[in-house]
Amino acid sequence: MSAAVDFGLGLRPEHYEEIAATPGRVSWFEALSENYMVPGGSPLRWLDRLRRDYPMALHGVSLSIGSIDPLDRRYLDELKALVERVEPMWLSDHLCFTGLRGQNMHDLLPLPYTEEALNHVAERVMQVQDHLGRRLVLENVSSYVTYAASELTEWEFIAELAKRADCEILLDVNNIYVSAFNHEFDAMAFLRAMPRERVRQFHLAGHTHKGSHIIDTHDEPIVPDVWSLYAEAVKLFPGVPTMIERDANIPPYAELLAELDEARRIAASVTRRAA
């Protein structure tokens, strides 16, 4: 991966004008697919304008790749049209289901890590990749419940899925941290199990600690423990593009740039030590 796309931010409407006014502070942006799957208007205008200056990735929340409902062909067609418009570096969504029986829960609901689920998801990933004509990048989600039915660990499931479906992985470092706390597993075991050649991108984000569990809220700065885990991730997967996700309590653009500088500093420090 070239240095040009090392460190990115989520594209948020609150920052459109400042992004346009301060070129060069961020090397790429990740746009939320559903926000731009609309007929027209200001968001699409901004997307087109900023796309001229920056590489972009598309990141969706509604693919529902693990659902037992049939794939939503209308959604896939709209997504394909957006992909043709944006020509993203890659296209990602989440390893989860978001509803069934035609009802969308607008949440990233975890899958049981079973052989049955693995077969089901792998088949659907291949169908989506065929439809879109490109590889899919799937993100590990934060989850709060542990299924009694799970037969595999989350990392075994993801690594095997990537291999079977020939897809790539978006490693959300915060989500690994959150799920490791919630499910009482070793975050490093997760990281070490990821197939190096398939890790396409890192996510970093903040969360809300409830004492007995952590909720993935994306509304706070990244905590020191997640920065530490990120340093370990960079050691294992050097050169993978990183971006910071903030979806609520959106701070001034300068605050996110400062957080991104911290990611740069950590990555540079790890790289120096490795050299």
Partner: protein, 264 residues
């Protein structure tokens, strides 16, 4: 091919039913941790479902929020959520039926201004991300040969919406951030008034229409020719004044950026 049968399907159905509070049968499918019991953890999902949809409604309906206040809005939103499953992948479309819900459901139907506010705000939202079309200019019309006006007809911008409002909703909507939530008063208008909402470029516009203008716009949207637009205006102005009035109204619509194209 995976089917809806089997444990994955059973588990997903049970989980969704649990989130919708239709069944508590799912609890046995998940485990306690050493730090938290399963009900606490399941509540993260169950609470989150309503909160996300309430947030979407709050974003789409700031005027209704300003009228109702947070507590009543929350109560209303939960009643809407309970009766309106989300059918689209994007939460952008979730609030589409709120105006109909408010106008047909007790106790909200007793405050008809709330349903009108919802209808107005949804139309603004639709205009916001409707297809982009560049409006025609008055100069283009002026350059047409005289005979073109015998058959000249128009199409409006895709963003154009017309609403008949009995309350002074747009005026109140403009005050929505000046009052404490719950304090926005919406007065009844002296009579029902037609409002147009449209987006000529990036910013949405709205304005009220005179009675003859509303009649003419109705005819224009139906694809009627300019002589027929004059006929639509005539009952209000008299035959003699109708062509000049229709031409003036048309010019205002064109200069306001409401008209997408013409044909003759």
């Amino acid at each position: 091919m995976s089917s809806n049968a089997g444990s994955l399907g059973d588990l997903q159905r049970a989980f969704q039913d649990y989130l919708l509070a239709a069944s508590d049968g799912f609890q046995g499918a998940v485990r306690d941790t050493s730090k938290a019991d399963r009900l606490t953890l399941l509540d993260v999902y169950r609470d989150g479902y309503a909160l996300r949809l309430i947030e979407a409604l709050t974003t789409d309906y700031p005027g209704v929020m300003a009228m109702a206040g947070p507590a009543d809005f929350d109560h209303m939103a939960r009643a809407y959520i309970a009766s309106h499953p989300s059918r689209r992948p994007s939460v952008r479309w979730y609030g589409r039926d709120l105006a109909d819900f408010l106008s047909s459901t007790e106790p909200y139907r007793r405050t008809p201004a709330a349903a009108e506010m919802a209808r107005f705000e949804w139309a603004l939202g639709e205009a916001f991300d409707s297809p982009d079309v560049t409006p025609i200019t008055a100069d283009a019309l002026m350059a047409l040969p005289q005979e073109a006006w015998e058959t000249l007809a128009f199409a409006t911008l895709p963003s154009l919406r017309r609403l008949i409002l009995a309350f002074e909703v747009p005026q109140a909507w403009q005050r929505r951030e000046e009052v404490q939530p719950g304090d926005l008063l919406v007065e009844r208008a002296p009579g029902p008034l037609t409002w147009a909402i449209w987006r000529p470029d990036l910013v949405s516009n709205f304005r009220s229409l005179d009675t003859d203008e509303a009649a003419m716009l109705d005819a224009l949207v139906e694809g009627r020719s300019f002589p027929e637009l004059c006929e639509a205006v005539a009952p209000f102005t008299g035959e003699a004044q109708a062509p000049a009035r229709a031409a003036g109204l048309l010019r205002a619509m064109v200069e306001g950026g409401m008209i997408a194209e013409y044909r003759y």
